[in-house]
């Protein structure tokens, strides 16, 4: 009881349920309790939002205080003695739960939250055995009210915790949800009945502690216990948000957020989240094909397809050398695939013409992604060039909002082509400035960075790469002028567009395309004529389309949900992905196919293309990746030293 005088280390000592805890000054009682593994039920409190203490679920007894205190909003003080198990606390919890269930519809059997609902769980753990209020006298509200085409609201299930309202106030700043009316009639509503327009609505059902807000996409698709959870990385953009891929019956049912404070801070954007079901498409390539000169198509086994591809590639390179072969990967490749593809191109096919996209990006360097996502919060100012960075990596907006509102970072959103000296004037005096730009705006970003650095400020750049693994394939050297790890490639070759143009003009006679369907889609005439004129077109891809139709040798590939490996996000964080779905084809993995191809082309020592084998070779080749491991950032400066 009489605690020792506070030592001056900024720590505060208190006793919770007889256990002594020392936590930093200013810690909330709730966090102090979880530090020692004591669970306090909460509804309105949320780890990413400021406390409001409106739900009163977390009331606990604090010695010497006449009333119970909300743990989510009480700051610890020296010598506090807290009891979370006292009779008064238990009674308060029972009372709160009975009250929350007063008009609750109890339709857990048809509720999408049933099985992962805090109201169910806490009622089971802390609630009263019975209610004193008859089930027949509940006040009913509207059910299945669409708040937008993505989110559905069940007003009866809402426990008025305010989390959704605060999410819009604090996290996105868009203020789209309000609480209407008073007393028992209080209901969540959109302002003026307008549908929600936010690009981050999909987070609402996850922050809602009950089944009041649910996803339209996931409506009645599965119960939580049906789902198989696989840790994955959102494949929609190169921000690399961590997700749980929840699947049932070999179909992805939803992406759920997997909090990584360094990357997504637990938020996903709707584009990424709701892309989940697109992986269930059955329009897939399943069997290898070989097309002969007359256009006849033969169904073959994968071994024969690989042999045939090797034979044809050798035939053209024997006459014209490796230079007549163009190799294209894409940001849909994993790091291992990209690394193996460039190795195949450079060591076996002996062609320098290799790229992963059409836009030309010469002399890339690791300085372009020196700024980490979480580091944004410790900048003095951040300059965002144009809207593209935030369009191409939407969750970045939420990090910028957090940095601006909670960390006092000055966020300057300027035009994509803003003059460097205007920007330096606007930023003024700053300790550390982040410069965020899209990869198509590299030149301007470099100019801005050097102008800022010229004024003596520390500058770190972040470049938003396009495509899921856009950063990884660059690190892995799927570039005409750079080998893995940003080492110069000698000799430098042609970039993506030049490869296609040379194929049209005939100087490139063979194309090897790995998962290039996405980057070549919608290019029309250029791709079509290149594919028509090239003598050999070896395609490894997942979906039918122009490439599959034009392929002289076609080998089906695996989608990102069906394979394992690693991908790298825009700040250089190397993250593992795992197979969430069974493969749509019996063809072995791309790594094995590429290794088989290398073998058929006469290369020695390529092994079987086993994932771990390739990953080890990759890590040995690129030390920054070896240091990054799984989940760390590839740090080039460190690796070089």
């Amino acid at each position: 009881m009489t605690a020792a005088p506070p030592p001056g280390d900024g720590q505060v000592g208190l006793v919770i349920d007889g256990r002594e805890v020392r936590v930093p000054k200013g810690t909330l009682l709730l966090d102090a309790a979880s530090e020692v593994g004591i669970h306090i039920p909460i509804y309105c409190a949320h780890p990413k939002m400021d406390p409001v203490a409106v739900c009163r679920m977390c009331l606990v007894q604090v010695e010497k205080l006449p009333k119970l205190q909300p743990a989510c909003a009480t700051v610890v003080s020296e010598g506090m003695v807290v009891d979370t198990q006292s009779d008064a606390t238990a009674k308060a919890r029972e009372g709160m739960l009975e009250f929350l269930l007063l008009n609750h519809p109890l339709d857990c059997p048809v509720c999408d939250r049933g099985g992962e609902c805090d109201l169910q769980d806490f009622a089971f753990r802390y609630g009263p055995d019975t209610s004193r209020f008859p089930i027949t006298e509940k006040v009913h509200f509207d059910k299945a009210v669409p708040l937008s085409d993505k989110i559905e609201l069940d007003q009866e299930r809402c426990i008025l915790c305010w989390r959704c309202v605060r999410y819009y106030d604090e996290i996105t700043g868009e203020k789209e949800i309000v609480l209407q009316q008073r007393g028992v009639h209080t209901a969540v509503a959109t302002f003026d009945g307008q549908p929600l327009r936010s690009d981050y609505q999909g987070n609402l059902p996850e922050i809602c502690p009950v089944g009041a807000l649910t996803h339209r996409q996931y409506r009645f698709k599965a119960r939580p216990w049906d789902l198989i959870r696989t840790k994955g990385v959102c494949p929609e953009c190169s921000y690399g948000c961590n997700v749980f891929v929840d699947s049932r019956d070999f179909e992805v049912k939803r992406f759920a957020s997997r909090d990584n404070p360094m990357v997504d801070d637990m938020w996903l954007c709707d584009r990424g989240r709701y892309s989940a079901t697109s992986w269930n498409s059955t329009s897939r390539l399943r069997r290898p094909l070989v097309r002969d000169a007359a256009g006849g198509v033969r169904d073959v086994g994968v071994a024969d397809a690989v042999k045939e591809a090797a034979r044809r590639l050798l035939a053209v390179s024997e006459r014209g050398g490796g230079e007549v072969i163009g190799v294209l990967g894409s940001p849909d490749c994993t790091n291992e695939e990209a690394w193996l593809l460039q190795r195949l191109a450079r060591e076996v096919l002996r062609t320098p013409h290799i790229d992963h996209q059409l836009a030309e990006m010469l002399r890339l360097g690791p300085a372009e992604h020196a700024l980490g996502i979480a580091e944004i919060e410790s900048c003095t100012a951040v300059v965002v060039l144009g809207p593209e960075p935030e369009v191409n990596a939407p969750v970045l907006t939420l990090r910028l909002h957090k940095a601006a509102t909670k960390r006092g970072v000055a966020v300057h959103r300027v035009a994509a082509n803003a003059e460097p000296r205007d920007i330096t004037a606007r930023v003024g005096d700053a300790r550390l400035v982040g410069v965020v730009a899209d990869e198509t705006n590299r030149a301007r970003a470099a100019a801005v960075a050097s102008a800022l650095a010229g004024g003596g400020t520390a500058v770190k750049r972040m470049t938003v790469t396009r495509g899921g693994n856009g950063r990884g394939v660059k690190d892995m050297g799927l570039l005409p002028d750079l080998a893995p790890g940003y080492r110069p490639a000698v000799p430098a070759g042609m970039g993506g567009r030049a490869i296609l143009e040379s194929a049209t003009s005939g100087s490139i006679q063979a194309l090897l395309l790995l998962h290039a369907g996405g980057v070549l889609a919608g290019l029309g005439a250029l791709v079509e004529s290149a594919l028509r004129i090239a003598k050999v077109v070896v395609v490894i891809d997942t979906k039918p389309g122009v490439l599959a139709d034009a392929a002289t040798v076609l080998i089906p590939g695996h989608s990102l949900m069906e394979k394992q490996g690693s991908v790298t996000n825009l700040e250089g964080r190397v993250q593992r992905i795992r197979a969430a779905l069974p493969p749509a084809t019996s063809v072995p993995s791309e790594l094995r196919v590429l290794s088989m191809l290398a073998g058929a082309l006469g290369a020695e020592g390529w092994g079987s293309g086993d994932l771990m084998e390739v990953h080890r070779a990759l890590a040995a080749d690129v030390p920054a990746y070896a240091a990054a491991g799984n989940g760390g950032r590839a740090r080039w400066e460190v690796a070089a030293a």
Partner: protein, 211 residues
């Protein structure tokens, strides 16, 4: 010793003259006791709506995991069940089922019960995975309802019209000579050949005063 032989013969003779208890199955059927746990039945309400709401609680309760439920959202204009959710697919693997009745216990709407039917042998395994069509109770009004609302309640019986009276698992059983229905109910009402009248089992809870 002779006494013993005589005693034995007398017993044999007595048994020879009494009525045999052997049942000439399958021509003759043995009625199941009223609470027999045989093949499952999925029930309907009187208006034909399915009681099952696709909640999967039966599947969760099943100790052997032999129930598969795939649910979907009701079209309010053509509901299959009351409320928002219904079972689009409902399958029970009868080869795995141990007929414990936990599914019936777990069901919040009393949609599933175990019925009187015990003849479950078959030559093909596939046929022993009972689908929703196999399990669902017939509904007398379905022909008329189909005319009113082709996608609503009873639509799933369209294919089965020709199969009457084997339409319903329960009826297929109850229709047999001498067999007793699950709840011991009598023969089908006139004009509803082969279809047992349905008595709803979910009652509105009685109002009680807060106490």
């Amino acid at each position: 010793m002779f006494k013993e032989i005589a005693k034995g013969m007398a017993f044999t003779l007595k048994q020879m003259l009494s009525k045999p208890i052997t049942l000439q199955w399958p021509e003759e059927q043995k009625p199941s006791p009223p609470r027999h746990r045989g093949r499952h039945i999925l029930h309907r309400y009187d208006n034909g709506l399915e009681k099952c709401i696709g909640c999967e609680l039966c599947a969760a309760a099943c100790p052997v995991g032999c129930i598969y439920v795939g649910s979907a959202e009701n079209d309010p204009a053509h509901p299959v069940s009351p409320g928002e959710r219904y079972a689009e697919r409902y399958e029970i693997n009868l080869m795995r089922c141990i007929y414990c009745g936990y599914c019936a216990e777990a069901c919040p709407t009393e949609a599933i019960t175990l019925g009187p039917r015990y003849e479950l042998a078959d030559y093909r395994r596939e046929r022993l995975v009972a689908t929703k069509e196999d399990l669902l109770e017939a509904w007398p009004g379905f022909e008329k309802s189909l005319a009113d609302n082709p996608r609503g309640a009873g639509a799933d019986q369209r294919e089965q019209a020709g199969r009457a009276p084997g339409v319903s698992p329960r009826v297929a059983w109850e229709d047999r000579e001498g067999a007793v229905g699950q709840a011991g109910r009598g023969s089908p009402a006139a004009g509803q050949e082969g279809l047992a009248p349905h008595v709803p089992t979910v009652a509105t809870p009685p109002k009680r005063n807060p106490g």
